[in-house]
């Protein structure tokens, strides 16, 4: 058992390989338990697409000792709440409850995660729920646009598939396959338990050790098929015509560095803020406020394990699409060619550093942050965010822009009214 220091939280590797992250916040009577599992859609074989997310639903369907619904009822009737989410890189399950109820509730959560029964009748019923989730997503034009863009950017890499999977694939899956996926991946070395809030360390360690002690043996399970990320070449454009669309969208996407190059990734986050965060940012000011060519424009940066994604999205009239796309390409080129004025850089840095401070106020936010970094990198890496952002110099940023944000290599997805 080793403990890492220099971090406001304790990171403890239990003997069975499970990682526990704990931070006491004595000012709050609330505790958050957030369990992260390195078993998102990225862990699926392509023919099992949607399994990780469907499993997240089935985890709540109980164990041999815990009938379906008992856990939800126990948490909620003690005034707490619980939910879960699945992404490509992870699935996580969390509950927020009064600190003094953790000893009774944590064993339930652990039992669900370690010993999900995945009963056949529940499997069939819950599949209907997931199919409804897919239907609902298909009525959302932004979801359709994001999906089309992901396919174009990532091609056969798992990031190109929807986390939800497809109706056809889900119809063919069985409870046996899901149990296999579950037992293979929900193993201690793949899991991080984060506990934050009004509870001391010693008590937490004992509780977690006890609750997460009996893992089933991992069965053989079809391995993930992780096709390499495609080499970006040239400009790829796709136009989708959608019914009931009232406004066109233009989404331009560039692939950036993955979690292993955290410094470069944070630099792209800074460039996103510089370009389109707030009314005084470059693109919002020019395209929305001054030239009024777009209804809105935003830049996004999302960090993932294998690569990150830098996007610029505009909501606009269809006949402005080409012009706006050309202007954005120009501005991206200028970014690399012209020194960034100091006040602009300072502004973007403060926006991001304050956002970081504003989003680490409640125990749930902190648990999420540690759990995410613990799952894709190391928990204390999140602490490097503010110093790295603060330390960026303009020449270095421009170098990054030249390396990653070229107008010669990107994917453009356009939604237009049918």
């Amino acid at each position: 058992m080793t403990t890492t220091v220099n971090f406001p939280a304790s990171v403890i590797r239990l003997d069975n390989g499970l990682t526990l992250i704990h931070q006491e916040m004595s000012a709050t009577p609330v505790v958050v338990a957030d369990v992260w599992v390195r078993a998102g859609a990225r862990a699926e074989p392509a023919e099992w697409a949607g399994m990780a997310h469907f499993l997240e639903h089935m985890i709540f369907k109980g164990t041999d000792h815990l009938p379906p619904g008992v856990f939800d009822y126990a948490i909620e009737t003690q005034g707490g709440m619980t939910n879960a989410a699945t992404s490509h890189d992870y699935a996580h399950f969390y509950m927020t409850i009064a600190a003094d109820t953790l000893p009774q509730t944590l064993p339930y959560l652990a039992d669900l995660l370690l010993h999900a029964a995945i009963p056949a009748d529940e499997f069939g019923r819950e599949r209907q729920v997931v199919l409804e989730e897919i239907r609902q997503a298909q009525d959302d034009p932004d979801w359709l646009g994001f999906q089309a863009m992901s396919e174009l950017v990532y091609q056969n890499h798992p990031y190109g598939r929807s986390v939800l999977g497809t109706t056809e694939i889900l119809q063919q899956r069985s409870p046996e396959e899901m149990r296999c996926f579950h037992q293979a991946h929900y193993q201690p070395h793949n899991m991080t338990v984060v506990i934050t809030g009004g509870i001391p360390l010693d008590q937490t360690v004992e509780m977690v050790k006890h609750a997460f002690r009996t893992f089933p043996a991992a069965p053989p399970c079809p391995a993930a098929t992780i096709a390499p990320l495609p080499l970006a070449q040239g400009v790829h454009r796709e136009v989708l015509s959608l019914p009931r669309l009232e406004q066109s969208r233009l989404c331009m996407a560039w692939v950036g560095p993955g979690i292993k190059q955290l410094e470069a990734a944070y630099g792209l986050d800074l460039l996103a803020a510089l370009l389109a965060e707030g009314r005084s940012s470059r693109l919002v000011r020019e395209l929305r406020e001054d030239r009024q060519l777009v209804q809105d424009i935003a830049a996004g940066f999302s960090l993932q394990q294998d690569c990150s994604l830098f996007t610029i999205q505009a909501w606009l009239e269809a006949d402005h699409i080409d012009r706006v796309e050309a202007i954005i390409c120009d501005r991206i080129s200028e970014l690399t060619a012209t020194p960034i004025p100091e006040p602009e850089l300072v502004r973007a840095k403060r926006l991001l550093c304050n956002d970081y401070a504003f989003s680490t106020e409640a125990p749930g936010q902190i648990a999420g942050l540690y759990g995410y970094y613990g799952t894709v990198a190391a928990p204390d890496r999140c602490l490097t965010y503010v110093p790295i952002i603060q330390g960026y110099e303009e020449a270095h940023l421009r170098q990054l822009a030249a390396q990653y944000l070229t107008p010669l290599r990107y994917v453009s997805t356009i939604l237009r009214p049918a």
Partner: protein
């Protein structure tokens, strides 16, 4: 966990000589200060003719004052990485801000200036109008929004709550500087304001900031306007939008008590019982046991005027009829099915627990305290509400269900082949 905010000795409530109410809660834990500036006027003051004026005006507050342009304002806020936003709700409007504590004085002074001296520049009005009209059109893209707008219109008729807060194409097109100035002059006055400041700041400092920026603002001699609400009677109508969607949306809305009505706490409890969380009745019966929906829930907004109790789900079009039947059955069975003591207690624990969890950040606390104050409930309502919930009995539940859960308005959206026949059957 259900401890009241009032038990915290740190809450300070002050009314300035000009009638402005200030609430301050010092919370030194994080280096953050959140403030909310509430104006006691929202879309409830609107008619069909000026629908959306409150929302439009709030959007324009940050687009220019006597001394500063829209870009000046954006730069002031963004250069220190603060957040500053505006919004209009049914019963109030609001400026929200959040800063690290050392930037608070500057950004608060800016917010006070926006509140007091907006200039509504013509060019900004034109831009905002264009953006708002497009936003109104874009609402048509979201099936849930279309179904809800249609339900609200059917339930409320001539009542101001009938209209979407953003307004209509006709009303927004007609806005000009004069309409904005008139609304501002009528409602923006110190005795119509509640300011809450929560975070790493002393009460003395916070109150001094308010006095410095807003203390010399004199309230007019006339009394502030209060909204007039026409009566709402349950109409039992069914409205339909046909769209070739993958899912049908089914919504059932009942007329429900305003916040100052004795049935308020009981209805909040019933909303929790039916629609809140993974163990709620609708979730368990319609999703977990029957697989009918991914999204199935209920909501009952807190309103000064007559509210609504809405249940809804999105479902495969072929399931629309059983979805509607299921939603209605679960709500209306409460008129003659008495809950068990255990069910009632479970719902109370859930509601009170989640209520407490909703007070974790400075911003959440600032929002809740100011909201109670601006609605005229007072900050004591935080504690009173919890006592009222605790006191609800099985007899109350049945009586309230009988009073409100009848003659619902139904809103359907989906493919013609499904919603057409269903609506015809209901007609």
């Amino acid at each position: 966990m259900t401890a009241s905010l009032l038990q915290a000795p740190r809450l300070h409530r002050t009314v300035l000589p000009n009638g402005l109410t200030v609430l301050v809660l010092e919370n030194p834990v994080a280096d953050i200060v959140s403030a909310r500036l509430f104006i006691r006027a929202g879309s409830a003051f609107e008619t069909a003719k000026d629908a959306g004026i409150a929302s439009f005006l709030m959007g324009l507050l940050t687009k220019g004052t006597e001394a500063q342009s829209s870009m000046d304002i954006a730069e002031t806020v963004e250069s220190v990485g603060a957040s500053l936003g505006t919004d209009a709700a049914a019963d109030y409007s609001i400026i929200s801000l959040k800063t690290v504590s050392s930037d608070f004085a500057d950004i608060f002074a800016l917010a006070a200036d926006l509140l007091r001296q907006p200039s509504f520049p013509e060019a900004e009005i034109d831009l905002e109008k264009r953006l708002t009209l497009q936003q109104i059109r874009s609402m048509q893209e979201q099936p849930f929004t279309v179904a809800f707008n249609q339900l609200r219109q059917a339930m409320y008729g001539d009542h101001p709550y009938a209209l979407p807060g953003i307004g209509t194409e006709a009303s927004v097109t007609a806005f000009d500087q004069d309409t904005l100035r008139a609304f501002h002059q009528r409602h923006f006055r110190p005795d119509n304001l509640v300011i809450t400041i929560v975070g790493r700041i002393t009460p003395e400092d916070a109150i001094a900031q308010v006095e410095k920026n807003l203390g010399d603002w004199v309230a007019p001699a006339s009394l502030p306007a209060t909204p007039v609400f026409p009566p709402v009677t349950p109409s039992g109508t069914c409205t339909v939008t046909t769209q070739d969607t993958n899912q049908a949306v089914v919504m059932v809305g009942y007329t429900a008590a305003p916040v100052k009505h004795p049935a308020y706490a009981t209805l909040k409890l019933l909303n929790t019982y039916l629609g809140n969380g993974l163990s709620s009745r609708l979730f368990v019966e319609l999703r977990e046991k029957r697989g009918l929906a991914y999204d199935v829930s209920a909501f009952y907004p807190t309103r000064l005027g007559m509210s609504q109790f809405v249940t809804y789900m999105g479902t495969a079009p072929t399931n629309a009829a059983i979805a509607l039947e299921g939603l209605r059955f679960e709500v209306e069975r409460l008129r003659d099915t008495v809950l068990s003591e255990e069910e009632l207690q479970a719902a109370k624990n859930k509601l009170l627990g989640q209520y407490a969890l909703g007070k974790q950040t400075n911003a959440q606390i600032a929002q809740m305290l100011g909201w109670y104050e601006v609605l005229g409930l007072g900050v004591d309502f935080d504690e009173q509400f919890q006592e009222m919930v605790t006191a609800v009995t099985l007899v109350d539940v049945e009586a309230v269900a009988q009073e409100f859960f009848h003659s619902p308005c139904i809103s359907l959206l989906g493919p013609e082949a499904v919603v057409g026949p269903l609506a015809a059957e209901l007609a």
